[in-house]
């Protein structure tokens, strides 16, 4: 009997999830795109202009210039995570995930669809924040390829993290637990607002174990040409984490964890 399976139908399925995800976050743009723009305007104004103007330069850049990469990445990562975590959990909660499960679409396509959706939102928000940064200061964009590659990889990484969080989540509270108690502290301690070179050696060593610091600093290299970490090591770490999280999420979906009885 003739069936409709294979590469082309899977590509259409992937496009469908992606279109659905884009429609979702564009439809509620006032909850997804506007808040980070407003928050980052306040960060640039308060930390960059008001407080930053009284601080000395870091690695030859003004304080406001120094914090731009961190704020762009912070916005991109948290939005990529929030998008997949909330969208996947809601899909699971209202059972519309069953529409995907009953279809011939492989689990890997479901995973890629949600991940690309989250990545895209992360990149859109990151771009908005970067454009806002241009209004406040000069940003040199030293190595655009490094900048784009790290922004994409970090958004993929956090989008995958959001999917895994949503798979395990049983209640709405579970979706906000990791961002609140794990990601936010790691982000604020991840070199967004300061250079680890300014820390005592003990805290510097501890900070260098924070993957978010590695991501932010590698991205900072792309924007400003300065970094506290080895850029190649930064890419290696992020690619490694993307691979681990991808297979973790794929395994969970294949087993039906949290979505099948």
């Amino acid at each position: 009997m003739k069936t409709r399976t294979g590469f082309y139908p899977n590509l259409i399925a992937l496009q469908t999830i992606l279109r659905r995800e884009i429609l979702r976050f564009m439809r509620i743009w006032s909850q997804t795109l506007l808040p980070p723009a407003i928050t980052m305007c306040l960060y640039f104004l308060i930390f960059g202009k008001f407080i930053g103007s009284q601080l000395s330069n870091i690695h030859g850049y003004t304080y406001i210039q120094y914090i731009v990469p961190g704020l762009v990445m912070m916005s991109a990562m948290t939005n990529a995570y929030a998008n997949t975590a909330s969208s996947f959990f809601l899909t699971k909660f209202n059972k519309s995930i069953e529409e995907m499960i009953v279809s011939p679409m492989p689990n890997v396509i479901t995973l890629l669809g949600f991940t690309f959706g989250g990545t895209l939102r992360g990149l859109i928000v990151g771009t908005i924040v970067l454009l806002i940064a241009f209004l406040f200061t000069h940003v040199p964009l030293e190595y655009p390829l490094v900048m784009v590659m790290m922004a994409v990889l970090a958004s993929i990484l956090f989008a995958l993290g959001g999917v895994i969080n949503a798979i395990y989540a049983k209640r709405f509270d579970d979706v906000s637990f990791i961002p609140t108690f794990v990601l936010t502290p790691l982000t604020y301690l991840g070199g967004v607002f300061y250079s680890v070179q300014q820390l005592p050696s003990f805290w510097r060593s501890i900070s260098l174990c924070n993957p978010i610091l590695v991501i932010v600093d590698t991205f900072r290299y792309g924007l400003l040409g300065i970094s506290d970490v080895n850029v190649y090591a930064g890419f290696g770490l992020v690619v490694g984490l993307v691979i681990v999280l991808f297979f973790w999420a794929w395994l969970l979906l294949s087993k039906g964890t949290g979505i099948k009885m």
Binding site: M1, T3, R4, T5, G6, Y8, P9, N10, L11, I12, A13, Q15, T16, I17, R19, R20, L23, L90, T91, N94, K95, S96, E98, E99, M100, I101, V102, S103, P104, M105, P106, G256, K260, M261
Partner: protein, 306 residues
């Protein structure tokens, strides 16, 4: 005989230790209109959940149009359409988007999906709502939307899990007509329902499941023929004061214009009407006291319990 569905030794034990299916065997022929009947918690939805991949089986085999679901899952799934018991679409999504997305998950290009969405929404009387978010639909409309959604991949096997639960009589009859047409066009249909009149009216073959076991798997007509006795209610034109002698039929008065008569297997309607005429009883109308399948269902399930 080509089989649309073949289930062998299907077993499901839930993580809480409850055994929902005790190794059932089930066969549904291509083109069949098949009823899967059972009480609440008998194992109907678990069976359907496993066939549709919504529930992981513990052991056993499921083949759909000869595709083994353990080996060629995608091919098997591409031939199935499912209407679940509970609403399972995003209530904030537009009606047409729900259908187009569903088609997309099956790998159907958007331009074809849009055409099909229009056809099936019209068929279900929902086209006027296509641009509305799904939460604006009434209960009956939501059920019809789920049927339209299940048709988007033009399935060869359509599985409906209590599609008419909570649906008004008029809509139920419309759905019956639609499903009959669909079956006549070649779609194999598996239906679970608590309305046994519905199963009797629509289905050619039937399986009855109880406590995770198939206790009956037969042709609907042959199953109904096994009914040893049927109880008929007669509405009379003239009130009667004296109980008539209707030997050899067991009978009783419900009221002075309503008579209940039991007809054993082997006794014919012709003979009964002859006796009624001989007694000058003028019959206005006649009906079965209960649905025939319902009588049989209760008999079989009670027997199995013992």
């Amino acid at each position: 005989m080509n089989l649309a569905l073949q289930v062998s030794q299907l077993k499901k034990i839930y993580p809480n230790g409850i055994t929902a299916l005790k190794g059932i065997d089930l066969e549904v022929a291509e083109g069949d209109f098949f009823a899967l009947l059972g009480k609440n918690g008998a194992g109907k939805s678990t069976t359907i959940g496993i066939i549709c991949s919504l529930i992981n089986k513990t052991s056993g085999k499921v083949r759909v149009f000869d595709y083994d679901m353990d080996v060629e899952l995608a091919k098997a799934k591409s031939l199935i359409g499912v209407v679940p018991q509970e609403i399972n679409f995003g209530l904030f999504e537009k009606v047409s988007h729900i259908l187009i997305n569903q088609a997309g998950y099956y790998g159907i290009p958007k331009h074809i999906a849009m055409q099909r969405a229009e056809i099936y929404l019209n068929e279900m009387g929902l086209w006027h709502m296509h641009n509305q978010p799904a939460f604006r639909l009434s209960g009956g409309m939501k059920r019809r939307l789920m049927i339209a959604r299940a048709l988007m991949n033009e399935p060869k096997l359509l599985i409906l899990d209590e599609p008419t639960a909570g649906v008004d009589i008029e809509l139920r009859h419309t759905l019956w007509k639609f499903l009959t047409q669909l079956n006549q066009q070649g779609t194999t249909i598996i239906l679970t329902t608590h309305y046994l009149e519905e199963a009797e009216h629509l289905c050619k073959n039937v399986a009855i499941i109880d406590h995770g076991e198939i206790i009956e798997h037969a042709n609907m007509k042959s199953l109904l023929n096994r009914l040893n006795v049927q109880t008929l209610i007669f509405d009379l034109n003239e009130p009667m004061t004296q109980p008539p002698a209707l030997n050899p039929y067991r009978h009783r008065f419900i009221d002075e214009t309503t008579l209940e008569i039991e007809l054993d297997r082997g006794q014919t309607m012709n003979d009964l009407f002859q006796v009624l005429s001989n007694n000058h009883i003028d019959v206005h109308s006649m009906r079965n006291k209960t649905n025939r399948l319902e009588e049989l269902f209760i008999h079989l399930v009670t027997k199995h319990k013992k």
